[in-house]
Symmetry: C2
């Protein structure tokens, strides 16, 4: 146990023979400092092992060097990838990342957003469960930069980074149509979320355009709901399924196995999202991959532009998904 009391900037300044203001300016790279003074301060700080108290700086600046990430669940590989990429780029810019799992629970989301207000975070990247939550506007009122991720938030002042949802399911469906499928089911997300609605719309458009009747089973973006929805579709004798996210793809695979069917011989499968296990399944899964890293980097970039006052107008960036053709689909003979 070292008993040295923690050094304050004033004490350090005194020992070096300058003022606290000068130490602050050197350490933060703000304001003009003579090169000789700068070197002297740096040497002194290093020698004394001084570490500024970030808590005081935060209060003074009225801002924590923190970015809040509000997502439904970090155990979803889609969000794990996203969080990882955000952390990487935020870290390099001097920001730390606070993790907020909402489990798609509006109450938990609101509580967490309140915390982010109270903590005066610099920015927030939000995959909203409730896009209209008033706390989002409260954040923006407080000068916090807000970016909607995956789904936009209602407050028009926020930025957004979105996947081309309806295009993705349209492509998936058209692929199945193209290889001869006539009864194509869709495992949807929960009603009312923008992502779920858009993905379902893309599927329905493509099915209708091909003269097929849409067959939709309601899921919840989770394993269990995917399983139940897939069971329902299997009962209706579909020959192919489009699944609206990766967790429900797990559920769908479980349902297929439980029914004693084989992919793709008995059932063709395309899923949105491209989790790491997509090529480990039997057979490897054909998917539409979101460019998660690029999207996360874009989100941080938008945030920083705001924080640096480089931009006032809200921006909305849409990213195409990438078709990853593997082995879970096969031709359906008429």
């Amino acid at each position: 146990m070292s008993d040295e009391p923690t050094l304050t900037m004033i004490q350090v300044a005194r020992r070096i023979g300058v003022s606290a203001a000068t130490v602050s300016r050197v350490l933060n790279g703000t304001g003009p400092v003579r090169e000789a003074t700068r070197k002297k301060v740096l040497a002194g700080v290093d020698e004394l092992g001084y570490r500024p108290n970030q808590l005081a700086a935060n209060l003074r600046r009225q801002q924590a060097q923190l970015i809040g990430i509000v997502i439904s669940d970090i155990e979803n590989p889609h969000f794990a990838q996203m969080v990882r990429a955000v952390e990487d780029s935020a870290y390099m810019k001097g920001y730390r990342v606070v993790l907020c799992n909402t489990d798609e629970d509006p109450a938990k989301q609101r509580e967490y957003l309140g915390v982010l207000v109270a903590e005066r975070v610099a920015g927030a990247i939000i995959s909203p469960t409730e896009a209209t939550a008033p706390e989002i506007s409260e954040l923006i009122d407080h000068g916090v930069a807000v970016v909607g991720f995956d789904r936009a938030v209602t407050d028009q002042r926020a930025d957004a980074v979105l996947p081309a949802n309806s295009q993705a399911t349209r492509i998936a469906t058209e692929h199945l149509v193209g290889i001869g499928h006539k009864k194509i089911g869709f495992v949807s997300g929960p009603v009312g979320t923008e992502t779920a609605t858009a993905r379902q719309a893309g599927y329905e458009e493509a099915a209708t355009a091909a003269g097929l009747a849409p067959i939709v089973a309601l899921g919840d973006f989770r394993v269990e709901g995917g399983r139940r929805a897939a069971d329902e579709l299997l009962g209706q004798g579909v020959s192919a399924v489009v699944v609206a996210n990766n967790l429900m793809a797990i559920g769908t695979l479980q349902a297929i196995r439980a029914a004693g069917l084989r992919v793709p011989a008995d059932l063709s499968l395309v899923a949105i999202d491209d989790p790491p296990w997509a090529e480990l399944t039997d057979p490897p899964l054909t998917t539409l991959a979101q460019p998660v890293r690029a999207m996360a980097n874009a989100a941080v970039e938008l945030l920083l532009q705001r924080l640096q006052g480089k931009r006032k107008r809200p921006k909305r960036l849409v990213f195409d998904l990438v078709f990853r053709h593997r082995s879970s689909c096969c031709l359906k003979e008429g």
Copy 2:
């Protein structure tokens, strides 16, 4: 845009007709307050929509309500599970979680630990890349509660939550021995880490006890290293492999497929860790699962005991892994 300037506690107190001290005591549940006063304050706070500035409280208390989680990579499902469980229990106790990915890079770990010191976090849960880093002692000097997770830290004042590593690989190896395997390989973690060493030791003990020569290929706890190590073992004609973590199990499966071999007909496989995809592979993977949630909950519990001053003596908790028997092993005829 609401133009109301942010309310301070003093303004709120004045409007309610009490002192800031009383408002603080009511909101924090500290000190004695007459019930009537309490109600009046609560009503006023609610009506005014007052939200305390946490930054000021942090400075005053010399502590942020933050728990730092230092891990190698959130994209590893083992850590995603751990972070999720930590966040859940920390959240309920009023703490937020700051995510620190080190990529097993000692320099990045030290930088991040320095940040945690500067931010005066309340606690840190660390899966150390470098167990001896002096910043860990610095944290403890500052009164931060530190828990080693997966691996212990060197500073004896810290707590630790550990898996029974050598026991796990011993059980895995004994299982393969029991079903007749004579050439059992081991895909190890990187040299020098405690986890890797202990897991290798368990394997070697069991192999030696069965009269078999250990066959170890060096991995790195990542997909790529697992693949290379598995390639090496396949070249040596092993009939079974024990893999020291889940990422290397992916690499091992890739190597096996690339070699045109089948599990378990050509090669039996047991892996440490039980990721969500373990039952999606072909065949479903036999694993030894760490009770990650229980471990994470225990880590937060240890942290809180420290923060509440309930305990001085460091504690070390060891958790047994659970054998999950699936379909990736089969009998080897002598």
